[in-house]
């Protein structure tokens, strides 16, 4: 047992700590990441693809552990076998889909079409919960100072924001899009936890809608050049309104120029090297972003406690299969 002779818990001072900057640093190296990538490709080929889940886990471990927040490194605690089981579930779903479509095809062409349309609608309907659960898995496997992140179950709020948002966006010819993304972000953030520390979002639909619509017209007037500045603006807005506990929020020091720089680096860097420079570019981008984001305010780490385990990995596999993967 760990001896708990540290600070007497009840006697922790409730006085607000002074406002400070909690910074992020990323230490990942492109060369190491490239080597991990090479090793993973080899193992995956040797195992005819079965290693994929372990490869992904290894990459995540590397990225997480090299990210340092306020002097402590993150840890990724997910395992290859968890992710592999997730992939098996996806494989089974695929089999079910193609099997039923084939069987329906034996009966009649119309039935086959009906089954396929039905399946497509079903897949669309489950996309939001897959995205949500995939995030839940990732959060629950993210650990800092021995405390897990987590995402509370959603009660269908995220699904509604997504599905209705899609419908309204189409009906409004895109005018609803900023509100939809704001609501998705809000639901996700309001349910995010670090141990017992709760995150919340105070950004207003009205504000982001104004920003989105004006960005649309300004982008047209400037032949799209305004768009990166809109991205910087909305990112900063979201950060400012992302409350961490009661006394802190996220800050981004980003400009449109930063987005343009990273974008050009990605496009040219990968094109000129046929994609081989990707590991270096990815690590550079993470370092670049880590330098430009920090938490401002005060967080009472002493009073944050652990919470129970989170979601399984199946959704992560599904998210990959539907190409709505989380990019890590």
């Amino acid at each position: 047992m760990v001896d708990s002779t540290g600070l007497p818990g009840g006697a922790a001072t409730p006085a607000e700590a002074p406002t400070q900057k909690y910074t992020l640093q990323f230490h990942g190296s492109g060369t190491s990441f490239f080597l991990i990538f090479l090793k993973n490709v080899l193992f995956t080929l040797l195992t005819l693809g079965f290693y994929l889940a372990w490869a992904k886990t290894e990459r995540r471990k590397y990225v997480w552990q090299n990210l340092e927040f306020h002097g402590q490194h993150f840890r990724y605690t997910g395992t290859g076998i968890e992710l592999f089981k997730g992939y098996l579930v996806v494989a089974f779903a695929y089999l079910l889909f193609f099997g039923s479509s084939y069987l329906a095809g034996l009966a009649s062409a119309q039935l086959k079409t009906a089954v396929e349309i039905g399946a497509a609608i079903a897949i669309f309907l489950v996309i939001p919960s897959i995205i949500y659960r995939a995030h839940g898995y990732l959060y629950s496997r993210t650990n800092w100072r021995g405390i897990r992140f987590g995402l509370e179950p959603q009660n269908g709020e995220y699904n509604r924001a997504f599905l209705l948002g899609y419908l309204f966006t189409i009906l409004s010819f895109g005018l609803y899009l900023p509100i939809m993304t704001n609501r998705l972000y809000r639901t996700m953030t309001n349910n995010t936890r670090f141990g017992t520390l709760e995150f919340s979002y105070t950004g207003k639909d009205r504000d982001v809608w104004r920003m989105g619509v004006s960005a649309f017209f300004l982008s047209i007037l400037t032949l799209g050049l305004y768009y990166p500045w809109y991205l910087a603006k909305i990112t900063k807005y979201r950060g400012r309104h992302t409350r961490i506990g009661t006394g802190a929020c996220l800050r981004y020091e980003l400009t449109g120029g930063d987005f343009i720089r990273l974008f050009l680096l990605h496009v040219w860097g990968t094109t000129l090297t046929l994609g081989l420079a990707f590991p270096w570019i990815a690590m550079y981008s993470l370092r670049y972003m880590a330098q430009r984001v920090y938490v401002e305010g005060s967080i009472d780490f002493e009073n944050i406690e652990q919470r129970e385990e989170g979601a399984g990995a199946a959704a992560d596999g599904f998210a990959d299969a539907l190409d709505i993967g989380l990019g890590v």
Partner: protein, 389 residues
């Protein structure tokens, strides 16, 4: 003093008295996994366990045995995470190059990658060599495997892929009875006894072309028949298409494409979206290579068929000779077909199986075939390149 032996008979007070001095052990922090608070610790390894002491009051906090403990060295930093199955939520972080070196002597599994640059270079070379040999193996094995799979799929199952195209094209088929009979006779003669006879039709189209599509359908265009100098040429092209059907080249191509893209997706995984080595282009080039092999195989099959049917193969050779004269300067590796000149040579140089050959059909039959579309309406010209699939 560093304890040499760790015996379970020690009491806590023994450990306390053996607290390391400032130079012994490694400095770090303990997160107990219950709260996010940190506690400064010193950690000692006694040969069997990690002893964790409070840095300020020098009391022993906990003891993790080596088999229970996971050592995660953070690749790019002198920071090490220790975890133990005994206290799964707790985390010890150690700092400094001394700790890293000391721990790497205790466990060699701690690093994701080697730190030594020569070891890294060796790993790179091994990986590149391994990937290259796997790629070669796959390149050679995939065509064989896909062929074996394709031959096990009944042609009836393949037909479901071709029925739609068949339905679209059949409106434009020429339906001269006499010509149909001539074609059916020729097909039967070429097909031999041990094979199902494919369905052959003439499409009312000006551009000379011939192709086979999924389900064992073969189509010749009116333009092809009209541009032929002799019925033997038509027989040669027809034999080539029938060979495609018998060799199951279309199904083989489908299976091959599926296998290759699955392997590509599996090996590159979720990096595929970020790679600029565009898989589609890579596949197109690889498919072209395979398709040239298929074409050459169909040529050999056609010659065998012509020989067996007792039809002169000169027509086949002449047809490709004429084609090679009109052919552009596309290099062979960018083309779906072997160079026509080479194909004419194959036809001319293959050993003769049958020297007792006759023309493919009588003059009357040839007249009937030439008139195949005389009753059908002219089809608008479509700009399609001249491809003999």
């Amino acid at each position: 003093m560093r304890p040499r032996t760790a015996s379970p008979t020690h009491s806590i007070s023994d450990w306390v008295s053996e607290f390391p001095n400032e130079t012994e052990g490694w400095a770090g922090e303990l997160a107990d996994g219950r709260s996010a608070s940190l506690r400064a610790v010193r950690v000692l390894f006694d040969g069997a366990s990690f002893l964790v002491y409070d840095a300020s009051d020098r009391s022993l906090i906990t003891r993790w045995t080596l088999p229970d403990t996971t050592i995660d060295a953070i690749q790019e930093r002198d920071v090490i995470h220790l975890k133990s199955v005994a206290e799964p939520e707790a985390l010890i972080t150690l700092y400094g190059s001394e700790a890293r070196e000391g721990l790497s002597r205790i466990s060699t599994k701690s690093d994701v990658l080697p730190r030594n640059k020569w070891h890294r270079l060796a790993l790179t070379v091994i990986c590149v060599a391994g990937i290259a040999s796997m790629a070669m193996l796959i390149w050679n094995a995939v065509p064989i495997v896909s062929r074996a799979i394709a031959h096990r799929i009944p042609i009836e199952a393949e037909r479901s892929l071709g029925v739609q195209l068949e339905a679209q094209l059949s409106d434009r088929y020429c339906e001269s009875k006499a010509a149909g009979l001539v074609l059916a006779n020729l097909t039967e003669k070429l097909a031999g006894v041990d094979h199902q006879i494919p369905s052959v039709n003439v499409l009312n189209m000006e551009i000379p072309n011939a192709f086979a599509f999924p389900g064992g359908y073969v189509v010749l265009t009116r333009g092809l028949i009209e541009s032929a100098n002799s019925p033997d040429e038509v027989a040669g092209v027809l034999a080539h298409e029938i060979a495609h059907v018998y060799e199951r080249h279309i199904m083989t191509g489908i299976v091959r494409g599926a296998l290759l893209s699955a392997l590509w997706a599996a090996s590159v995984g979720d990096f595929s979206g970020l790679m600029v080595i565009d898989p589609t282009t890579a596949f197109q080039i690889s498919t072209l290579t395979f398709s040239r092999k298929d074409e050459a195989e169909a040529d050999r099959g056609a010659i065998k068929m012509l020989d067996r049917a007792g039809i002169r193969r000169d027509g086949f050779a002449e047809f490709f000779e004429r084609l090679s004269e009109s052919e552009g300067a596309l290099p062979e590796w960018l083309s779906t077909h072997p160079a026509s000149e080479d194909r004419a040579k194959i036809a001319a140089s293959a050993p003769e199986f049958n020297t007792d050959t006759r023309p493919a059909m009588t003059d009357e039959a040839w007249e009937a075939l030439l008139a195949v579309c005389s009753t059908a309406p002219e089809l608008e010209n479509e700009s399609r390149e001249i491809i003999f699939d």
